[in-house]
Symmetry: D2
Subunit: 342 residues, 4 copies
């Protein structure tokens, strides 16, 4: 009953197989190899546009490099107050951007609205000594397992564009959001105004495969050089390409996400039906936030259940909100075992 | 006939096998897993001391993080004028250290001497507005395929210590140097005054496995936090640990290095005996620098030989110095084929 | 009727005289001169302790250098949400500290409480990936013209000290706060737990004279070097020393502050008595925040009154809160003229 | 006999007078005042082009801000190996530019040639992992008291332009070079390919008045913001403007430089005629480099002479090269007294 995080699994078998397959022979270093080229072409198909693709080792690297490339002195970056970029990356955005200031916007269930963003921007007028508006970063799926609809994204990016801001998407759980919405990658990104995407593979079946997907390269200056001097260029770069080769082939990435989302839905349905526990909100991706009694929590942990307590919001005195994350390896039996202990 | 670089191969079979083996099951993220713990313990055995170990994705990251952790405002870092840290890492040391200044010391065949270092230090007296002496970085094996003896290293670090400098070793080809010298890892590092080591696995049979091995943690402040905010913490951290597990088991890493060095020696012997080409200097690790005629170069390239032209030093008008790098996969047949085209 | 800011005046006559007096002759550059030495000794008398003193050109420089010297990777700095350091310095704190994150605490009338700080700290537990608690910065007098009592400061620094934080005071209006409280400089700073102070002279009668006064030099690493590489070391350093010589002699600095505070009190009293306008809160230094009708504002501006509209807080639909700043040059006639137009 | 440096004097009387004159009344802060506007217009007249002007407190700030504004990740900055920017500013260029790498070119008597620069650039081909060529910085007059002719500057900037580099002039002793050459400010700068100039007033009669004069604002991104977040914006900005008002009026700045250069020429002539000491090279500005016997040095110091020993280049065993700097206050009697002790 492992619901701690979707980065506790290893790699999916097709990803491991691709890694083994591309291990043969010699290939140019630093991304000049054929697999990297082929995978880059694959990304262009997936996004239906001539994107620039840069592999990184971690999602934090991808996010922070995007911030580096749009950095301006005195720059302000707007994001939700629960954004991973802000709360969980140990100041990477600030370091890479040479000190841009993050401006957290209060989120509801992980998401911010165009109206909230507009109000925050209005408090930062042009010419303010606070700094200058530079970027918006949205997380899709959000840190609370909820998903922005394309029209939500479009409204947010339109608001940001009025202040000439760059629009970044942290897609650590991109696939989970995509299969929930049933839209195309293009519709969820550049068609909705996103300029640059951190495309995550790690949480959904890769070992360590992330990519910066750049829709408007002219707005993200010197990204190649920023990555190089940050030490995020693999010499045996085809190792990341190989993972993406397995990941993106035959819709494998979407299958993995559907599996994880399905496990979350099964879990959520069971919790809602339990009578004794309740959902904090309806899950839309692979994370379930539920309010359990402390007794239930203790019982589950005693039975080998692993998950994090999240907050006290909406909880009674003997309750806590827990986060339950499913992944491509979560089995029905594991979910049902969890539910049986409620 | 692939002699371009030792990072053109994939991973060795035992390394791939270890990766597959550790792919099973779930494990805590961000380095809290059992494999990481076991491999860290293994490093302590290898170095015969209670080292701190931090995995990174690339050698540049390892080098640059070492510089970050010893950074002081106005700091000066001394290294050879062909040091990878200085010449090939796109300013990573400067970026991570918030602008320390690299002070290149003229190298002979890739190495600097304590005397040369002393002279350079004398030109940077205390109180100088140039800045303050902070660190020495040595590359072992050097970028020219030569190797510092432990007493060379001890003399250099003693000179640096007189100015209260931290001593870093860039061990991208650590194993190749070690098997050449026939000493222990401890003798080549902390017993000779090294404070922190970039221990490379990638060039010698891993996919992307590097480690900062810290002998004097009290001198390298906030290294864990520096790595975190640089985006160099893997969520599925056991993926690096697994590679090192395969790499360090049963002397595999030393076998790989002996193979690569042996191929270089075979190549060097053949070149020296060829009559028509000559060695620029005697190789001590897995890189051969040789002076060939342009005609030989063209003939070899036409036959599928791949390698880089390096410089014009010591060359006649119709000659060039080439660099030939061998690796764990280089076969005798490949070497002999090269020699046959001379 | 000039109430825009206390940095619209030039220098006071005694400060100008000191500048002329020390203009004669030659003196060592970069702070090695006798005037700098004498003024540093004077600071030690004023603060009754063996402080380290570093001159800077601007208050922003002083604040930001303090942040540089206590910087840690992933560091968090707590301050009020109206702190000049956060809102008005164009990201200087972030730049100098290589990206520390400012954590604004909601202020009431410019001040925060130990309780508010404690709650904010509790939300940033040790080990959090948000980062690590590093510093507290308090503004005295605050940006709203209010003043922390020594016991307020002591409670705040005690709270900060529990998390091993450094305590900084932005004393751009230090003298105004001091004469309001009637305490000693020592009581308002190090005796109340302050480790480093930005001591402002500019707003209170100097041209550009600020000083970092360091009470615990062992906690502020490399401050001299941070200042040097930031270009904040004057070659003709005695120019700042000379200003402070005039400023600190014979209690001149306290006289200037008493004058400015007195003008603010006269203004406040008149507003409170006007019947037609009202104070937003009671002023304690040289800034008056008052709520005026838009008609009054228009009338005053037409008559040559200059001041900034501040906010809409507590205002009716036809009102606005204005900020009225007095300084060492503000005359009674000017105040009375303002009041006559209400 | 004070020849230590040209920053040991205070301000010239006309500069002090201007400061007193502009001390009256109130004026907008942060550079929005009328004096700043008038002085900016004066700069445009002096340079015969519509320049952007930004005041700073120090020459280091001006130089470093220029580097900040042209910074690119992995950027390389070329300068002489005795450049103040490189050798005497405690790493400010590296700090402000977020880690650009300085590439020192060997100077002869303080100056580099287009040929030397070209050779250095050739060793840094495009695509090199060393980094990318970004800027050239020339010091005029040089640190060795020599002066580039406009055609020298044009040749250097043309070479730099071939690699798309920005051309910066460190004009800490701009006036001294100008009066030596007898050309116009335009001829010595933008007409010879200079993009941005650090225009120094401090060493030539101001207290602390430097200006960044920007000829191609479109190439120096965000300079205003870089300065703001570095804490180099004076609130009472007219204080710098006032100094420049006095400095630039009626050719005062050129008179001051002529005086200093004249004193140096008198000194050089006397040394050359002395028989017992000799010039290291012919001075062209306000610095004389001379080779004296150790006995002469001791005798002069005993008589109250103050100056720095510079190097051993070209010296016999009992000799040393000394630097003798003259300034606007150096008197004939002082020079003659020095000569009498040789």
């Amino acid at each position: 009953m492992e619901f701690s995080s979707d980065n506790w699994a290893g790699a999916s078998q097709p990803v491991m197989d691709a890694l083994s397959r591309h291990n043969e022979g010699m290939a140019p270093a630093y991304g000049a190899d054929a697999v990297t080229e082929a995978v880059t072409a694959r990304f262009r198909e997936v996004f239906e546009i001539d994107v620039e693709v840069l592999f990184t080792a971690t999602g934090t690297a991808a996010n922070a490099l995007a911030m580096a490339a749009c950095s301006r002195p005195g720059g302000l970056v707007f994001c939700s107050d629960v954004a991973h970029l802000h709360c969980d990356e140990w100041g990477a955005a600030e370091f890479y951007s040479h000190g841009m200031k993050l401006m957290p916007v209060a989120a509801r269930q992980g998401k911010i609205t165009a109206q909230d963003l507009g109000a925050k921007l209005a408090a930062c007028p042009e010419g303010s000594r606070l700094g200058r508006t530079v970027a918006l970063s949205l997380t899709q799926a959000s840190e609370c397992g909820t998903v922005y609809r394309p029209e939500d994204i479009a409204a947010l990016t339109a608001t940001a564009r009025q202040r000439d801001m760059l629009c970044h998407m942290d897609g650590a759980r991109f696939a989970n959001a995509l299969v929930h919405l049933g839209v195309t990658p293009a519709e969820m990104t550049w068609k909705a105004g996103i300029d640059v995407l951190s495309f995550g593979g790690t949480k959904n079946g890769c070992w360590c495969a992330e990519a910066l997907v750049v829709f408007r390269p002219e707005k993200l200056r010197d990204l190649v050089e920023h990555r190089a001097r940050a030490g995020h260029v693999f010499s045996k770069s085809r190792f990341v390409a190989a993972q993406f080769d397995g990941y993106l082939a035959d819709g494998h990435w979407l299958d993995l996400a559907r599996h994880a989302n399905g496990a979350a839905a099964r879990l959520a349905k069971g919790i809602a039906a339990s009578g004794s526990a309740r959902l904090a909100w309806e899950p839309e991706a692979n994370e379930v936030f539920a309010i359990l009694s402390k007794e239930q929590i203790a019982r589950l942990q005693a039975a080998g259940g692993r998950f994090y307590e999240w907050s006290k919001d909406g909880c009674g005195p003997d309750e806590a909100m827990v986060r339950l994350v499913t992944c491509f390896r979560t089995g029905d039996a594991e979910v049902d075992s969890f539910l049986s202990h409620l």
